[in-house]
Symmetry: C2
Subunit: 333 residues, 2 copies
DNA sequence: CTGTTAGCGCTTTCAA
DNA sequence: TTGAAAGCGCTAACAG
């Protein structure tokens, strides 16, 4: 197979084949209501017959709409964001938009570079996992007038639109829940990323005093979860309840507890974060803070597409909330 | 923030600012070796000063290179492919390419539609998770001369380039391993996707007779793994060794076995597939078939980029192989 | 080393 | 309802 691209079939060919002008062919395919039904049918037939595929770069150059949206995540393997990406992609696809994926690697220089690259690609919108970092790219995005949706976090000063929830609130809610259960000896197992540390902060604030903490590099995984669990249980064997910054981390703590002969929840209570589907199928089932990542993706897609169509979404600032789901790992009191 | 895009800063502005012609500015930024160092410096300075970001749509229209690559996966939440996507994205990014992500949803009509859309976006290459389905889009891709890398599978008749391994071989290897251990009562827990079923086929072939099988919908998860485990252990309590089509499924089977009071591996041996990082941190640690998904991504990126540069990769058909990693879940004989 | 010319394929604007 | 003209912002090809 040769990599030389033969000259492709253009709208010109379709027009000739259908016996109409270039622009009529364009309209027949793009704005069928502005052309007679008969003509539309003839152009459609011609396009199908010769296998025409419109060049979206050319169209986008003139119309200034690339029908492309950028999504930036730290690393794609951070499972948290997968349902969001999945829902976003599905929603965009339905409207003929495609998703450009970028990985910042938790690095603001790379984030800035990626954003510039996305601006250069004339994306019609940007969805961020998290808040936009304070880089020079910010000004360019504003200058270019590109709609942005920040997600999975909340702030008083959003760049543009936002779909998220309060991580501080999550930490507090878990602390309240633990306190309501009457426990007194707490620990935290956390990834070292910004939002996880904010959840920890909320937890500590509400508990009222500092709490033994094991921090592992983000993204956390089962192995680092076991490690964090081991660290906490070694450092302070009297710990009775552990708040984990992800369900995966929590699974590691559960595993480590089991290996050490600790019963959950009798000897140790464990709470995760994320509300992943697997959390309900562990043994014991895992208490977690559920966040509707899929909804974040579809809401973000919805308000972004609205703005792409030139509308002004009635509510460009959506708090999807969260809820503590009590399961076996903290039950029984 | 308004969605009206003000007229953007173009190369024209840079040229004027630097006091050179348009094309010299273009070369200074794109092919610096064809322009005097002094001019390059001046143009660079001008571009930086006014915050110029090149319009890649415009450049791509003329040069017929969009610096964009499409990656098609069934669903992004199928974890198997994440390391591949991650490595691919990272490699592309280093060369200034971006990744367009598409989800086929295991549906060939959607796959065909997505491929057409990607062709229309003038992608410079396509990476498929799995083999290209036999759709009309195939002919168009060939006609457009777009390089394609099929991954995670193998065939005698690849469309273009390929980086994968034999699923039949995986099934056989696990059967050989089980047989070498001297076991005789087998079961299979599998997702219902094509490649998982081929692995099962290889397993059954080598075992020499049909084997109790629990099939769950792809993508499999911890819950469906527990379900499959329950189904197998109920249907045939004498089962002694289970081959699972993913590590996640295997984790479900391990969990179900534990809940039922079965010891692994004493009462039941379990083997997964994928070689995910978590498999080594379960308790018991999970025997699995390791596949280097990250390498698949980087090799695919490498040969694809080579072709984008007009080179002919010396080896456009790479078998990355696999290997059975023995761990506690099948140890002890 | 630098510049001029001519488009890439499509859609907007204006006119019929 | 249809068409002609005029570019979108950039780069390939050829001159100078």
């Amino acid at each position: 197979m040769s990599s030389i691209k033969q000259k492709s079939i253009t709208l010109h060919d379709v027009a000739r084949e259908a016996g109409v002008s270039l622009i009529t062919a364009s309209r027949a395919l793009g704005n069928p209501d502005r052309v007679s039904e008969k003509t539309v049918a003839r152009v459609q037939a011609a396009a199908d017959a010769i296998g025409y595929i419109p060049n979206l770069l050319a169209g986008g150059l003139k119309s200034r709409r690339s029908r492309t949206v950028a999504a930036l995540v730290p690393i794609i393997s951070v499972q948290q964001f997968l349902p969001t990406i999945e829902a976003l992609t599905a929603m965009l696809d339905r409207e003929g938009y495609q998703l450009l994926l970028g990985q910042t690697g938790y690095d603001r220089a790379r984030e800035a570079a990626l954003l510039n690259s996305m601006v250069g690609r004339q994306v019609d919108g940007i969805v961020m996992a998290g808040l936009l970092d304070d880089t020079p790219a910010k000004a360019r995005i504003r200058a270019a007038g590109i709609p942005v949706v920040e997600t999975w976090d909340i702030t008083d000063d959003p760049f543009d639109m936002l779909v998220g929830f309060s991580h501080l609130g999550v930490g507090r809610a878990v602390a309240d829940y633990f306190l309501a259960k009457g426990w007194t000896r707490f620990g935290v197992a956390t990834g070292d990323d910004k939002r996880a540390l904010i959840r920890r902060q909320g937890f500590v604030d509400r508990i009222g005093h500092d709490v033994p903490t094991a921090a592992v590099p983000a993204p956390s995984n089962l192995g680092s979860g076991r490690q964090a669990g081991a660290e906490l249980l070694t450092k302070d064997p009297s710990i009775r309840a552990i708040f984990c910054s992800s369900d995966t981390l929590a699974e590691g703590v559960l595993t480590e507890a089991r290996v050490r002969g600790l019963r959950v929840p009798e000897d140790l209570a464990v709470c995760g974060f994320g509300g992943t589907s697997f959390s309900g199928h562990l043994a014991p089932t895992l208490t977690t803070v559920h966040v509707d990542g899929s909804r974040i993706g579809s809401e973000a897609g919805r308000i972004l597409l609205a703005r792409c169509r030139g509308e002004t979404p009635e509510e460009p600032f959506i708090d999807v909330g969260f809820r503590v789901i009590e399961r076996e790992s903290t039950a029984g009191r």
